[in-house]
């Protein structure tokens, strides 16, 4: 009886030790700091975005897909435009790549994203400071759209 109790008493201490060990590694207990974004501020305060970005995105997604409402502020394309980093050669890095804006936090929180199987994770290529709306509507592009590879 007694030895068994002793062993049980050791358990919390063990758990605590493990916790400290993990904390010293630094990654497991603290949320990652996302890479800096373009611009001064987000469409909502940071704490609101952290908590509710998925609700904003889902709401706007339904408005856009079913109601044809475009250009509202909670747009996934907008997120990507601001939060995608570029590498040393100026090439955009996907926001769901390891350590990038979306991925770093989602892997910390252990929440699977279901966006980028369909949506591109990098800004539109020739955007050059234009909004997506402006880019798709610009007359030049209507004629000289970048052709994508075609194998059929």
């Amino acid at each position: 009886m007694t030895p068994r109790l002793n062993f049980l008493g050791l358990l919390p201490a063990l758990i605590l030790l493990c916790g400290i060990a993990a904390a010293e590694e630094g990654s497991a207990l603290l949320p990652p700091i996302p890479p800096p974004a373009k611009g001064d501020e987000c469409v909502e305060p940071t704490d609101v975005m952290r908590r509710d970005h998925m609700r904003f995105l889902q709401h706007q997604r339904d408005d856009t897909v079913h109601g044809g409402i475009r250009g509202a502020k909670h747009s996934l394309v907008g997120c990507i435009d601001c939060h995608a980093q570029t590498d040393a050669h100026g090439v955009a890095i996907a926001v769901n790549a390891k350590g990038q804006f979306c991925e770093s936090c989602h892997s910390f929180a252990g929440v699977r994203m279901d966006c980028f199987g369909c949506h591109t994770a990098v800004p539109a290529p020739d955007q050059a400071g234009m909004t997506l709306l402006e880019w798709t509507t610009s007359p030049v592009l209507a004629v000289t759209k970048p052709a994508s590879p075609r194998t059929d």
């Binding site: 909502e44 250009g71 209507a142 059929d152």
Partner: protein, 251 residues
């Protein structure tokens, strides 16, 4: 007992006040922010049934050796094949026909016919396959589970299932493995509200054929509506009475 319930009431009242205060503060902050936003663009939509987008395809103007519409669609929506024609996606295809009696040959582009009463919408278990108020038939890929029942139901074989991973999607045309897709009538262009026409129609015009006319079938002043008044046109599979948004002439 009474004391206890009073304390409880007090507590809930306090909580109510705190929450109201927070809500007001949040609302104010949101309002201020909204007004402050310099780049807040005017929102478009929502779409309404006062419009019905459609096409009129004049087969006599369609050149059998031209596939500019197909190429333009692929470019616009980033549809690139994996070299497996049986499973690669197609949103628009060229078909050449020969009349069994007269031998007359015609050529036409075939895509989603954007039915008013679409069989694909009827059979979809989740409602992912839907018809927008303005007549555009779409797949909401967020709730498509990939059952492909709509593909069995479509009389035009207009839909494709995505059989493998895709990359480099266009920002305005999300597409992905495991869901079904088809011609969107380039809704992203329609929704801009600036009169841009679908990529296929634009390409056909650029090639000088002008076989694909696009417009609002409900607007008597639109060129499509006028052309439909002037000359006989037909629906594909008219026997099914689907009232298609895409019509053909000189088939």
């Amino acid at each position: 007992m009474a004391d206890g319930s009073n304390a409880l009431a007090d507590k809930s009242r306090r909580r109510f006040l705190t929450r109201t205060g927070a809500a007001v503060a949040l609302g104010l902050a949101a309002g201020v922010r909204f007004i402050d936003f310099p780049s807040a663009r005017a929102e478009s939509g929502p779409v309404s049934s006062s419009q019905r987008w459609g096409m009129l395809i004049d087969s006599s103007k369609c050149a059998s050796d031209c596939s500019a519409c197909v190429q333009a669609c692929s470019d616009e929506h980033g549809i690139s094949g994996h070299g497996r024609p049986q499973t690669d996606a197609q949103w628009i295809r060229k078909v050449t026909l020969r009349d069994k009696e007269s031998g007359r040959e015609t050529s036409l582009p075939l895509m989603c016919q954007h039915c008013e009463d679409p069989p694909c919408v009827d059979v979809c278990p989740t409602g992912a396959s839907f018809r927008r108020a303005d007549g555009v038939v779409l797949v909401d890929k967020h709730i498509c589970i990939g059952c492909r029942y709509c593909m069995l139901a479509c009389p035009y074989k207009a839909r494709s299932f995505i059989h493998e991973d895709l990359a480099d999607q266009k920002p305005w045309s999300p597409r992905g493995k495991g869901t079904v897709e088809s011609c969107t009538l380039c809704v992203h262009r329609i929704d801009e509200g600036k009169g841009r026409i679908p990529a296929c129609a634009e390409a056909c015009e650029r090639e000088g054929h002008g076989a694909i006319q696009f417009g609002d079938l409900n607007d008597p002043a639109s060129s499509v509506a006028q052309a439909l008044v002037q000359r006989e046109s037909q629906e594909l599979r008219a026997d099914l009475r689907l009232n298609t948004g895409v019509r053909y002439q000189n088939l």
